[in-house]
Subunit: 197 residues, 2 copies
């Protein structure tokens, strides 16, 4: 196979090494970029460099931010005595979209996973414990997976001596779905976690 | 919704404006890039700039290339008296992969499409006619769509006075599929284009 351009091949390689982009998609994207306005590529390049140079972890909650402390931790309007613990920065966006939560976050950047060799020391659990003075409630909002569950249990055990309220977000039947098509595990969780009507 | 970083939001916007990448994918890609090795982003940036600065159209066949003339047109091994006409540069890659074709290409960069206001003058048809001296055969390899068919007919009509061989790639039942699941149009084309066994 003859390639007409090394630079095309190079960008195809970079793009196809990204998650969920295969070789064919990378090719289509590259051809799209060649045809696009040169200012679009300039903008793309600036955005990548901006990301690399300016984004780092918030010193308090470990979310991505451009300042030392992220806008949520810095905000006067957020309740600093409630911490919602999540796995990834993307989870913060998901919770913020609900407009339901007015506290602050703590991002673990992963869950404990012995199979992958990820222990409590590899994620931001120690940093959570260090934040715990003057905290009223810790909400555990990890993904309802085996690893998420194990990590939640571990954190809850570490927090128990501090005598703060420890809660978790509810697992159950998603709104809009039907019982018929809900898997047994979710349904049994929903029955187990039933609340007064 | 509180964004923790302008630079994240900016890259998400750029990525989600690309074809087949939605907002969620763009977000996932951006978070992946933050976590990736900084040299990967450097490489990404270099590849984008390299593409923008070095890739342009081959003067002969209008494929993308970095030199004045693309490697296929420049190659001594390719038969210059056979031209395969395709719609897009990506089609050249597809045909090159077969290792079946040893001639040169001509890329139209589109097909005639009156609904979108694309006429014969908007694609590289005139440039094809200008290449036609000393040509033995023109193979039409446009997509088997209505617009591809119309463009093929138009080109064939223009080429007829030159008394060169004009062929087209076969349409028919794809290898590995079954008659049962082949659509009627393809099957009727396959019957119509039957060849001696």
């Amino acid at each position: 196979m003859v390639y007409s351009s090394e630079n095309i091949e190079r960008l195809v390689k970079v793009l196809s090494s990204l998650p969920s982009i295969g070789r064919k998609s990378a090719q289509r994207l590259t051809y799209h970029l060649i045809k696009s306005d040169p200012t679009f590529i300039d903008n793309f390049v600036d955005a990548l460099i901006g990301l690399k140079n300016n984004v780092h972890l918030c010193k308090i909650c470990f979310n991505y931010t451009e300042d030392e402390i992220c806008p949520i931790c810095a905000s006067e309007k957020r309740k600093r005595n409630i911490i919602c613990v999540v796995e990834q920065p993307a989870d913060v966006l998901a919770i913020e979209k609900t407009n339901e939560f007015n506290g602050t976050y703590h991002i673990l950047h992963g869950v404990m996973n012995p199979l992958d060799g990820i222990s409590a020391n590899d994620i931001k659990i120690r940093e959570l414990i260090q934040r715990i003075s003057n905290i009223e409630e810790v909400i555990l909002a990890l993904n309802p997976s085996i690893e998420g569950e194990a990590t939640s249990q571990y954190i809850a055990k570490l927090l128990r001596p501090f005598e703060i309220k420890i809660t978790r977000i509810a697992s159950g039947v998603p709104i809009g779905s039907s019982l018929e098509f809900t898997d047994e595990l979710t349904l049994s969780k929903a029955i187990h976690s039933r609340i007064p009507f």
